[in-house]
Symmetry: C2
Subunit: 390 residues, 2 copies
């Protein structure tokens, strides 16, 4: 466990590229562009360009489509393997031929979101503050409009429209992906047959708004942030790294952190004698955050934080009104030990749907990872997921 966790975290901490299989299917990144994209808040983007990936074959009736929406630090690489570097998708354990999300049967699509955390990752295609603003020929910075989870959904819908896909057999997402999944079911009820929310929520409550803000504050405080205008100067790397330290730490339950460091030395000589020397775990977390920061962009993190803070499924004033139109059968799978999007949040959405007479199931994922059980322990619920998708 110790070795697996540490090497997995070294490879990216959200375990995007952690390998569970050496024989995943090859997959390629594709690109989708659309013009004059209208945003939920009324503003318009002249051009939106995002990456996407697909698995399996679209059938003639075009009714075998499953959309998988990604989490905060993730991207469209949900499964399969890139030929160039061998990187394997985060849910390869459940997406593939004969797996829970069976690509022998379903055409599985996943799309990079707007304002993706890693615009500087060569394997991510996204549009956000780091994108060149066609009006100025310089990066948007804070001129980029505020975007919402609904806008992520509508970019995906534009892609599906172009592909001639009218209905989704299912939409499935973990964490921030679950926000997109439930909003899909609320926004386009007649198009969504099944909705799976993994480690998810239906509304950002005040605590979540405040907790997300803790990820933004170090960026806002970094003098190099310069109100978002840093693309031709020193970047706010320190603030970004602090944000990523917090994100990394909060995604994991204390038990898994503690199990990772069985040889923890409380009274370590360095920290005991020098206020500027740190416990080895602190240095480890800083190094992992520094690695994660390589491809990330500080403004993109701010915009992602905001999209999550503004989330309420259905984008109505109250959640009940937002969920009312849903026609999909729903399945909520929170992680028992999740301290970030706690099971109570998924249960609330599940119970509200039941009150509204909708079909909804609730099933927890057990594990010691906390929030990350939505990735690390998803295979333990493969059978139930497979049955739900029949």
């Amino acid at each position: 466990m110790t070795i697996n966790l540490k090497s997995g975290l070294t490879a990216g901490l959200m375990l995007l590229f952690m390998s569970f299989s050496l024989h995943a299917e090859w997959v390629e990144k594709r690109s989708f562009t659309t013009q004059d994209f209208e945003l939920f808040n009324g503003q318009t983007l002249a051009e939106v360009k995002v990456g996407w990936q697909a698995y399996g074959e679209l059938n003639e009736a075009r009714d075998n489509v499953i959309l998988i929406t990604h989490f905060f630090s993730g991207n469209s690489h949900v499964a399969g393997q890139y030929e160039a570097d061998g990187a394997i998708g985060y849910w390869d354990a459940i997406v593939g031929p004969g797996k829970a999300i069976d690509t022998d049967r379903f055409y599985v699509i996943s799309v990079d979101t707007l304002v993706n955390q890693e615009p500087h990752n060569p394997k991510v295609i996204t549009t956000g503050p780091a994108t060149i603003n066609p009006e100025t020929n310089a990066p948007y910075g804070l001129d980029f409009p505020v975007v919402t989870i609904r806008d992520f959904v509508n970019v995906q819908k534009a892609l599906l429209d172009e592909l001639g896909i009218e209905n989704l057999h299912a939409v499935i997402g973990a964490s921030m992906g679950s926000l997109q999944a439930i909003d899909w079911a609320a926004a386009y009820p007649e198009k969504v047959e099944r909705m799976v929310s993994v480690i998810g929520m239906a509304q950002a409550d005040p605590w979540t708004v405040l907790n997300l803000q803790q990820w933004a504050e170090p960026i806002l405080a970094d003098p190099n942030w310069n109100k978002g205008d840093y693309y031709d100067a020193e970047t706010p790397l320190n603030g970004l790294q602090q944000a990523l330290m917090q994100i990394s730490l909060q995604a994991m339950h204390p038990d898994i952190i503690n199990a990772t460091f069985p040889d923890h030395e409380t009274l370590a000589e360095g920290p005991l004698h020098n206020i500027q020397s740190y416990h080895s775990e602190v240095n480890w977390l800083r190094e992992r955050a520094a690695e994660r920061a390589l491809y990330a962009d500080a403004n993109h993190v701010l915009y992602l934080v905001r999209a999550n803070q503004l989330f309420i499924a259905g984008m109505q004033e109250d959640l009940r009104s937002g969920l009312e139109p849903i026609q999909a059968r729903s399945l909520f799978m929170p992680a028992t030990n999740d301290l970030l999007l706690r099971p109570a949040m998924a249960r609330k959405a599940h119970e509200l749907l039941q009150e509204l007479g909708k079909e909804s199931q609730y099933l927890e994922i057990e594990g010691s990872w906390g929030h990350l059980d939505g990735i690390m322990s998803i295979e333990s619920r493969a059978q139930e997921l497979k049955e739900f998708l029949q």
Copy 2:
């Protein structure tokens, strides 16, 4: 609840001065000074000066003493009322004539710790990086040595020695106070008859080390911090405020935060249209942190973080060896919903003491405040506490 919480938080967020009674006993701050104070890490402080308060009367045998040790953001004002401003101590609900910690019977003492969070609070007397270094006639800054919970204990012991007090009927503390309490029992087993750990732990585990570090990072990143040398310049106020935002948020369970904002507007117009506009809760937390920062000192927060990171009861290499000498009867009272010092941490210490053949009890405090239930809901365990002290 909403009104009480908000006004309570406005008055200081750790509820130090929140009033439960309009008829508390008057109490005064006193001062204690000692020279050539040897620290656990081998360094020496030429002079240590701290504040303290006392309640009740020391009996002739000097054997009716209860020491109360304070939490991270607290000070010696545990109960009673200051005549100057009417401020009431944080545990006034359980400390006073006829109360659980009965000052008609016990002589209760509480002492400001070294490196107290609020050296600029006129009601706090402490020695730390903001103190004038007699060798240079300037504030110590980072020349101040790293101090540990054991050093807090030894300052208290020096005061008791001066008062001619050889034994403690009990030592009781909440949160960081619980660290001092259990270390007292381990360091001076023959002097401590009873030990009460409220919302406490016996050892900082790796998760706690990393979580505490999140409070330090924004200070370290603030350019005004200047490696701790800011006493004749702009102070690292922004970093300090960020630290205090995190401390405030983590001390409270999501449920109490959410209950505080029943009118939360997820799709608030400001944040939806302007990336530099924030939800009202964010502004509220920032304002509270700004108020808390008035008396606080950034370096002191760093040194407090370190003292907690270095904590292992008994200050041995392993916890079992550290707890082995304890003779006190112990009582652990974690808060059921505490996400900061989780009940599992107190339970671990309790079970280890039982394994070692010591007398130990375990009793959770119920409530919706989370960590702060150790203050806000302590009265619900007044009877059990009173009986334990018989």
